[in-house]
Symmetry: D2
Subunit: 300 residues, 4 copies
């Protein structure tokens, strides 16, 4: 059963995900403010739409994949928006990474209009989107999760039901906070080691088998010539950009504040990614946080 899908937001991530749905024979209508990826997807068989509203009007499931909370609010709740196009009983899946509190307030408005909603942010980056191996963190009622599972399995490799509406976003924020700080500390620690005369390859060999092992070390080590293929070997081409990690750390800080929880490490790592961005590396891979460390270290 491949139900008609409206897909709003086909940037780097969204385009690959929409394409994977087309390949699995879903009828997909796509919309984006930028006409280029819409046109590209048309060549693969997707139907173009000219507004978010019209993108939603023939769909049984509408997926949004947008950069931030205000974008989601505008595309879903705004004039010519998704909600104005959706019919009662249809389903909204927001796969954007946004503030869990915004998720909750949007979902209340969706429910009042008679539609159903899941939040389903993803992890795994451009490569995971291309290869349909994304981790997808889903929040919402169990039966709705089960109903939409085939769609998630068309775009991801690890689909997890995280609890009620908003919990997908919460788990995403938790994961990315850990990833961001571990990325920054790998850069901080290796910078110290290299200044002391140690070889990055040897440090990697040891740490990757010891208590300092972490995903960022093993996949985006910020030194070239160690991993078989890493952003550092390719002038820090993203990958997951410094500015996106900074945004996700901001989400974590904002969530922590709203909840009455501390976020000391998030705050300091946010500053370190900020320095990397200030120095011109905002659109490079998050491992370019190493450049911030370089600028703070004695030379010679």
């Amino acid at each position: 059963m491949t139900r008609p899908i409206g897909f709003v937001g086909v940037g780097t991530m969204g385009k690959s995900m929409a394409l994977n749905l087309v390949k699995r024979h879903y009828p997909v209508t796509v919309y984006d403010l930028n006409p280029e990826p819409v046109e590209e997807l048309r060549e693969f068989g997707a139907e173009p739409a000219t507004t978010a509203q019209s993108c939603a009007s023939n769909a049984e499931v509408v997926i949004t994949m947008l950069p931030s909370s205000p974008h989601v609010e505008a595309a879903v709740l705004g004039a010519d928006g998704v909600l104005d196009g959706m019919r009662p009983g249809t389903i909204l899946i927001d796969m954007s990474t946004i503030d869990p509190l915004v998720t909750r307030s949007v979902s209340e408005k969706v429910a009042r209009r008679g539609m159903r909603m899941l939040d389903a942010p993803v992890s795994g980056g451009a490569v995971g989107a291309r290869d349909a191996t994304l981790t997808i963190m889903v929040g919402g009622p169990t039966e709705l999760f089960e109903e939409c599972k085939p769609i998630f399995e068309a775009v991801g490799g690890n689909v997890v039901h995280c609890g009620e509406i908003g919990m997908g976003e919460v788990v995403k924020v938790v994961n990315n906070l850990i990833a961001g700080v571990s990325m920054a500390v790998v850069a901080e620690a290796f910078n110290i080691g290299v200044k002391a005369g140690a070889d990055p390859k040897i440090m990697y060999d040891v740490v990757s088998k010891s208590s300092g092992s972490c995903w960022t070390l093993n996949h985006v080590l910020p030194y070239p010539g160690v991993l078989p293929e890493s952003p550092a070997d390719n002038d820090y081409a993203a990958g997951f950009m410094v500015d996106l990690m900074r945004k996700d750390l901001s989400l974590a800080m904002s969530a922590a504040k709203g909840l009455g929880a501390p976020a000391f490490l998030a705050s300091v790592a946010h500053e370190l990614f900020g320095v990397a961005s200030n120095l011109g590396y905002g659109r490079r891979d998050m491992s370019a946080v190493k450049k911030a460390l370089d600028a703070l270290t004695a030379q010679g």
Copy 2:
């Protein structure tokens, strides 16, 4: 060829390591300021000594396993110390975790007296010491490393030559800085998630397969009921103690300062472990850093 070994410092870690050498049929003489573990080891076949000097006097290889830089300086260079007992041509292996600059200055004095030296700090904790699965990070000349390799393999499972003298300590500091900060951020992030209503088990399931995965998450998650057997399930019994992690973060900060490198995350994590220690958890497992987060979070 099992050469006679002198073992100075048989605390929690050292005792297990000395015992593993005895089990592999090395003739081992042991010394510690505390007579209890010396006596215990005697029952397993080790020879007790009453000073560091006498512990070293019949050995071809002397191993030191002590808590800090000043302890190593005192035991090796002080009155009745190891250097006064060793014969020219014999070997000192310092397996303590200390400041790499102290390692270098001790090694110069050792060389001037005609002995050879390796630094070889370990990672893997009480369990790794007991099961002889420690990671051992060795610094010093290649041929000396090869000569001592059988000894390392008797007490560890992953023996790595990290470069010249001091590089073992450097790699250890790098590893533990990453481990300490990742431990603290796992606690910070899960605290946010739990306050938001997420289930620790579900967060663990997702993060452990995503970009936030790290050793500390997978082995010492600070929430009970998730991992099969973790310190959190046992009232945070150590394991690797909060105060030891704090000490290792201090080493990292001190090394960074000496080298002209920044240590922002080390400094802030050092404060968080410090809070846990101030609140009475210094001798609990490092995952008790969660208690610091608890004290900083709104209740109810």
Copy 3:
């Protein structure tokens, strides 16, 4: 020449300021979502209004004094808002403390409608508002500043022209960032001193005459019994509240991010005020940040 004034937002600060204008014989119309202070001001001779729009409709100068950026946007630009009431050529003075970038965008909309605008945030707290001794930081064209100076002098004691539109907010943010961090470090440092056995009164006597002297030390020292009359002597009754300082540090962090500047100390102080707020002191004087330090310190 006392021109008719509309005053939107008569909370703690605004009410005192509106009252000072009434006392100087300005005809003042007042509006607030909360009817109580409007009623109180009516007894002193102010004219009540039932919407922001009607509050503005007879005024030559409209003053807004509101808690945050969204409040200002809603009250000025929203339905029944100030802009719908103002006549061309009249003047809007926003005395709220908000993000300088929001100031700039509001001012552009004001100009397009043919009105003129100044930003004029204040410093000096409830006491300064009551006694008309506020410091007022004004941004906007010089001649408009001069034209409005008598109004500022009716409510403040130190009126400074800070440059073009938005610069009043910038200078306010700069001042409060310094004040917030100095408040937090006075608490951090005195906590260390007291734990070491030093007397707060003696520390105050020395530091207030030395390089650590600062406004927060001299006016809101977080220990009772030292200053003649401080919030600490009155169970930390505000004064300038912990949650307001946290908000101002947030503004500084947000401005820094937008400008590509670091904000390490702002971020960490923001966390410390956050801890105080989490522990229930959000509505106490900012010197209650001491309570955060207490919770992080070893007892006994």
Copy 4:
């Protein structure tokens, strides 16, 4: 009554202080590892000594003014040291800025040898030392403080008895922690303001009369052209050096750790001064911490 004084340590600060004693007709014997300032002081009438011990041997009061804890331990307790030269009943005044715990341990050894001791660190920098306007923070018994007061008044303008032995150092650490963090936040805040387009002179005018006012703002503002004469106007010539402030923040962190108190702001400011030092400004005035901010800020 001008009693014979031995003065050990005549660097920048000590030389001026010794000279002020000579000018007040104290018989002063001086010693330093560096013969140059000893020779200079001889021309003004001081007696040179060739060891710390001989410098102390004719003195009734010995003053030490040295850079760090180990220097004091060596000069007082070491071979050819002060204690070996002093006669019972004479007085040691340590005016160095060191760890209060070291002060206490040295004082116990001094007492066991039958001498008396005060700790008396100073604040006020090179200018205060030259003009005899230093603030002097004295720890030790009241009657000993009174006995030595004329000596303190010969070199300082604000002499305060801070409590028992060690409390002088504690109060000094507290003061300098506040000074260091306030210096760093003045730089952080002004950097934000300048990036936003504000004028440093106007920011200074406002903040110096508002809640952000502090000694560092008013005396060592890190922007040139504002204060009549500041290090910033003289290429950041010290003044009180970046590396000394970093050392004092280290003392605060170390004291905090020993006492079980947090030091979050100290730790982060320590890193910022560290960055300034890494970038080559360690021997410039502490206001050169601005250079660290510059390196972390987006250009253009």
